[in-house]
Amino acid sequence: MSVTTPSKLQKMIDSGNLAVTSEVGPPRSADGAIIEHKGNLIKDHVDAINVTDNQTSVCRVCSLACCIRLKLMGLEACLQMVTRDRNRIALQSDILGAASFGINNILCLTGDHQYFGDHAKCANVFDLDSIQLIQTVRMMRDEGRLLGGFEFEVRPQMYIGAAANPFAGPNVAMRVSRLAKKVAAGVQFIQTQCIYNLDKFKEFMKIMVDRGLHEKVAILAGITPMKNVGMAKYMQKRVPGLEVPDEIVRRIGGVPKEKQAEEGINLAVEQIQELKEVEGVRGFHIMAIEWEEKVPEIVERVGLYPRPQLA
């Protein structure tokens, strides 16, 4: 966490305040106004807005263009980049492009396999993986060098993030090990997979703290409010690496249909309140999937609004 960048997100985290980030999903058309609209919905309630990169391998407006749009609106963007679709030439090129517009946050991901998306027959790239992308950004920023060896003057000032999934296999200890590898590669903040099994997440964080890793990387806990019981069941059964306990499905399903969305928000609020107390949690990443308008309410209800204004 030592390298300081102009990132406002980094400033918030380093100040000791709980950070709040959220994400917007780009449209599946050339309609740029949608990103503007989504950005405006959440801008006063978050410290940075992630833009997803063709999430679940569905082709959309590119993350870079959307981040530039948010930046031009005066907002703090976080460029999500997956290594599935671009080789190291294209990845580094996009990093330089983002930095040339003053984008200072990047989330380094490998990305879902294209099998899930709308172009299952495509070739994939995977020239690098997420950890190698972290290494690459760090080299570009700290050494002013490309992977090919070329040295340059104006360096991308990126606050480097990545994801972590405490719930994927084979066990929590290995998931901490993998995160330790990201730390060794140079990651500074982590936005986790959506958390529904709080006990398992706490177990993960305990190992992080025992190993002292929580001091080397800022963990933003991932929260996704459930819209209805259908979504809860879908996430429980269909999303790989996601753990939704039965009690969550029962709770959302236990209220009348018209009240399920409200119950989903209540649940998200309770989760954040509980996770605030977990050692090592430095903030929250609220992923309200196609439900961005609910982010302000959640942030307000958990007492994280107004956002601190840092000089």
Binding site: R88, T110, Y115, D129, Q132, T136, M174
Partner: protein, 222 residues
């Protein structure tokens, strides 16, 4: 070994239906082991084609043979005497054999009779699975003897990704997570310390990314 599967009969029929003299050329190498393109399969395919032509009321000659290996000129040369008597050849060798046969008999129509799939093992009769993608720079010493390039769906060198679930890959419950296999093997071998060291980006020049590959072993050349 190289693993292949027979092409559907309809696809082969479509290729050869307008010819009257067709040779089915099997290969005694890899495709015999995986029962896709040996002499036995050549005979079966030739019989099926003869039946088709008979039923279609067409006079046609379909012969079968099998060569020791179709990836070597010496064996391909064994066909030189009779090649002129055929309109077309269906090679049941892997893609390597099909091409070498076509290269040697430049004016002859040569069609593939199998789909070449991968380099893999025989798990049991009729079950084959991939193990190597011939990247040209073996890293198995670092990964507990399990190849992440061949066995991780995202060929990650620093896996597993967040999609691994109960030992399975995110693409299918039938695909083991390559990185969980690596992790478990490293644990068994007492080499888990390797797991937390980031592996640098790979040099892919020796893989297909470097263009068509060729080996010249001066020590072996006569």
């Amino acid at each position: 070994m190289i693993k292949a599967v027979p092409k559907p009969l309809e696809e082969v029929l479509e290729l050869v239906k307008d010819f009257t003299k067709v040779l089915i050329a099997g290969c005694d190498g890899c495709v015999t082991v995986c029962e896709a393109g040996g002499l036995k399969e050549a005979k079966v395919l030739a019989s099926a084609l003869r039946l088709y032509f008979t039923q279609a009321g067409k006079q046609a000659q379909v012969d079968e043979t099998s060569l020791t290996r179709q990836c070597e000129k010496e064996y391909l040369a064994q066909l030189s005497d009779k090649m002129d008597t055929y309109d077309a050849v269906v090679s049941l060798a892997c893609g390597v054999g099909v091409q070498y046969l076509a290269e040697m008999y430049n004016n002859k129509i040569v069609y593939p009779g199998v789909d070449t799939c991968f380099m893999g093992v025989n798990e049991e009769r009729g079950v084959y699975s991939e193990r190597c993608q011939a990247c040209g720079r073996c890293i198995l010493a670092e990964t507990g003897g399990v190849c992440p390039i061949a066995r991780c769906s995202k060929r990650m060198l620093n896996g597993p990704c967040g999609g691994s679930d109960q030992g399975k890959c995110e693409i299918s419950k039938d695909v083991p997570c390559g990185w969980e296999l690596i992790y478990e093997r490293l644990k068994t071998l007492g080499q888990l310390d390797r797991f937390e060291k980031p592996v640098d980006p790979k040099d892919w020049t020796t893989s297909r990314d470097g263009g068509p590959r060729k080996i010249v072993r001066e020590d072996l050349r006569i």
